[in-house]
C-alpha cells in the first residue's frame, strides 16, 4: 500500500472527528426512518411468504399438480430480495438528501450536485463506454481537490438494439452500462489518448467493438510490471511515451491498489480509465443492483453503521488520490 498524502490524511482525520461530533447525532435522530422502512419491508416480506405458502397449499390440494409446479411457489420469495433492495434504496435516497452534505464536510468543496449530466461527447470520445443512445444519471457529487475539478456520477446507459424473432424485427432497450463514472479536469493537457481496462468479468461486448473506427491508431503498451498486466488486461495508447509517463511505477501501484480495493468493496465487472486532452475518466461497471455510493444498510441501526459510511468515504478518497499520484494540479509538463 502506498503512503497517503498529508491532505488525504487530513480528510481522513476530519472525517473521523466529523463522524462523532456531527454525523452520529443526526444518524441517531434519523433512526426512526430506518425502523419505519424496515417495518414496511417486514410487512412486504410477510405478505410474500404468505403468498408462497398459499400457493404451496393450493398446489397441494390440487389433484393434477405436477411436482415441478411447486417451484412456482418459490417465486414470491424471490421478490423478498427485490423488496429489501427497494426499501434500502428509499432509505439511502432519504439519508443522502438529509446527510450527504454533512458527510462531505471533511472533503471541503465537495457537495451533492443537483445537475445530473455527464457530457456525452466527452464520454464517447473517451472510448471507455459502450455505444449508447440515452443515459440516466441518478446522482452526482462534485468538488475540487488541489485545484482539480472532480465529478462522481452514477450512470445508467442504454442502447437500442434490434433483434429478430419469428421473422420479425424488434427494437429492444438494452442496459449497456450501470455503475460510476468519475471525471477529473486537469491542468495538464495530454497529447495522446491512453486507455486502461480491467476485465474482471468477461462480457459479450468486445473491446474491438468500440475501436472499429480507429482501432489501428491505438497500440498495445507493453509495461515492465507483469503484475500490472494481471490487473489491467488491456492497455492501449496513441502515444507510447506519454502512456509510460502516466503509468510510472508509483501510479501503477496506485491503480493496482485502487482496482483491488474497489473489486473488494463492490461487485465490479469492469474498471476502465481514459486519459485524454484535459480529462481523466474512470468508469466502474457494477452489477445493476449494487449501489456503489450506498450510505447505509436497512438491517442495522444507523448509528452502528460506521463501516458502511466509511466505505462511502473510502470510495471518494481512493479516487481523488489519483490527483496526488499524477500531480494533476500542476500546470507544468504540458507539451
Amino acid at each position: 500500500m502506498l503512503k497517503r498524502s498529508e491532505k488525504i490524511n487530513a480528510i481522513e482525520r476530519d472525517f473521523r472527528l466529523n463522524y462523532h461530533s456531527v454525523l452520529l447525532p443526526h444518524l441517531k435522530r434519523m433512526e426512526f426512518i430506518r425502523v419505519i422502512l424496515y417495518f414496511i419491508f417486514l410487512i412486504c416480506a410477510l405478505a410474500l411468504v404468505s403468498a408462497s405458502v398459499m400457493l404451496c397449499w393450493a398446489f397441494f390440494n390440487s389433484a393434477s399438480t405436477e411436482p415441478w409446479e411447486y417451484l412456482l411457489a418459490i417465486i414470491p420469495l424471490i421478490f423478498i430480495f427485490s423488496a429489501h433492495r427497494f426499501w434500502e434504496l428509499i432509505l439511502n435516497i432519504i439519508l443522502k438528501k438529509k446527510l450527504l452534505n454533512y458527510i462531505l464536510v471533511p472533503f471541503k468543496t465537495f457537495k451533492a450536485d443537483k445537475i445530473f449530466d455527464i457530457p456525452s461527447i466527452q464520454l464517447k470520445e473517451s472510448k471507455i463506454i459502450e455505444k449508447y443512445v440515452f443515459k440516466i444519471n441518478p446522482e452526482r457529487i462534485d468538488g475540487v481537490y488541489r485545484g482539480v475539478n472532480i465529478r462522481f456520477n452514477s450512470a445508467l446507459l442504454f442502447d437500442i438494439v434490434s433483434t429478430f424473432s419469428n421473422g420479425k424485427r424488434r427494437m429492444k432497450i438494452k442496459n449497456v452500462f450501470s455503475g460510476y463514472i468519475v471525471e477529473m479536469d486537469m491542468n495538464k493537457t495530454f497529447s495522446g489518448h491512453t486507455i486502461l481496462e480491467s476485465h474482471l468479468i468477461h462480457t459479450d461486448e468486445s473491446f474491438l467493438d468500440r475501436f472499429k473506427e480507429n482501432y489501428y491508431e491505438m497500440e498495445e503498451v507493453e509495461l515492465e510490471d507483469p503484475d500490472f498486466k494481471k490487473h489491467f488486461t488491456t492497455i492501449k495508447t496513441t502515444d507510447q511515451v506519454e502512456a509510460r509517463y502516466l503509468l510510472n511505477p508509483a501510479m501503477m501501484e496506485k491503480l493496482k491498489d485502487m482496482e483491488s480495493a474497489f473489486s473488494r468493496m463492490f461487485k465490479l465487472t469492469d474498471f476502465r480509465l481514459s486519459f485524454l486532452d484535459k480529462k481523466v475518466m474512470i468508469a466502474m461497471k457494477v452489477y445493476s443492483a449494487n449501489n456503489m455510493l450506498k450510505l447505509c444498510s436497512l438491517n442495522k441501526p444507523l448509528y452502528k453503521q460506521d463501516k458502511e459510511i466509511c466505505a462511502f468515504k473510502d470510495t471518494l478518497l481512493e479516487t481523488i488520490e489519483i490527483v496526488d499520484e499524477l500531480d494533476l494540479d500542476e500546470k507544468i509538463g504540458t507539451y
Binding site: R244, Y245, I332, G333
Partner: protein
C-alpha cells in the same frame, strides 16, 4: 486442377503470407527503436532548453558552486552537438548520466541557499525540470522496450534470418541511467539519523 495442386497452392500462399508478415514485423520493430530514440532526443532537447534557466537562477545565488555550474554548461554544449539517431546512443547515455549526476548535486546544494530555495521562479524551474526528467524516464522505458523487442527479433528464428539478410543488428545498448551512486545499496540507517 487436382486437389494436390490446390493444397500445394494454398500452402505456398500461406508460406508467402507468413514470410511477408515476418518481414513486416522485423521492419516495424527496427523502426520502433528509431521512433523511441527520437522521443528520447526530443525530451533530452527539452531538458537542454530548460537548463539555462535553472543555471541562470542558480548562478545568481550560488557563489560556491560556480565550477559545478560551469561543468553543467560544458556538458550541455557537448550534448547539443550530438546528432539525433541511434548511432551515438552510448555517447548520449554517458552525457545524460553525467548531466543528471551534476544536476542532482546542484539540487542538493540548493538546500544550502534558503533564499534560492524559496525563490518562486527557482521552485517552478525545478518542478519543470523534474517533470521533464519524468518524461525522459518514460521515453527511456519506451526505448528499452523497443530495444528488447528488436533483440528478440534479431536473436530468435525465423525473424533472425530476415534481420541478418537485411543487415539489422541488435547490438544497440539499453538506455540505463543508474549511476554508481544510484546502484549502490541503500542504507536505511542514513534516513533515520
Amino acid at each position: 486442377m487436382s486437389m494436390t495442386m490446390i493444397i500445394a497452392g494454398g500452402a505456398a500462399l500461406l508460406l508467402v503470407f507468413w514470410l511477408y508478415s515476418t518481414y513486416v514485423n522485423v521492419i516495424k520493430t527496427r523502426n520502433k527503436v528509431d521512433e523511441a530514440m527520437s522521443s528520447i532526443d526530443v525530451n533530452l532537447k527539452k531538458r537542454y532548453n530548460i537548463l539555462p534557466n535553472v543555471l541562470f537562477l542558480a548562478n545568481k545565488f550560488m557563489e560556491h558552486e560556480r565550477s559545478l555550474i560551469e561543468d553543467i554548461t560544458k556538458l550541455r554544449t557537448s550534448a547539443l552537438q550530438l546528432s539525433s539517431g541511434v548511432h551515438n546512443v552510448q555517447d548520449k547515455i554517458n552525457l545524460n548520466n553525467e548531466i543528471q549526476k551534476k544536476m542532482n548535486e546542484l539540487f542538493v546544494s540548493v538546500e544550502n541557499y534558503p533564499q534560492l530555495k524559496s525563490d518562486n521562479t527557482m521552485v517552478q524551474a525545478m518542478k519543470t525540470y523534474t517533470d521533464v526528467e519524468e518524461h525522459i524516464a518514460a521515453a527511456r522505458r519506451f526505448y528499452n522496450a523497443a530495444v528488447r523487442d528488436l533483440k528478440n527479433v534479431v536473436q530468435i528464428w525465423p525473424s533472425s534470418m530476415f534481420a541478418a539478410s537485411m543487415g539489422i543488428s541488435g547490438d544497440i545498448p539499453y538506455f540505463e541511467t543508474a549511476s554508481e551512486v544510484e546502484r549502490a545499496p541503500i542504507n536505511a540507517q542514513n534516513y533515520f539519523n
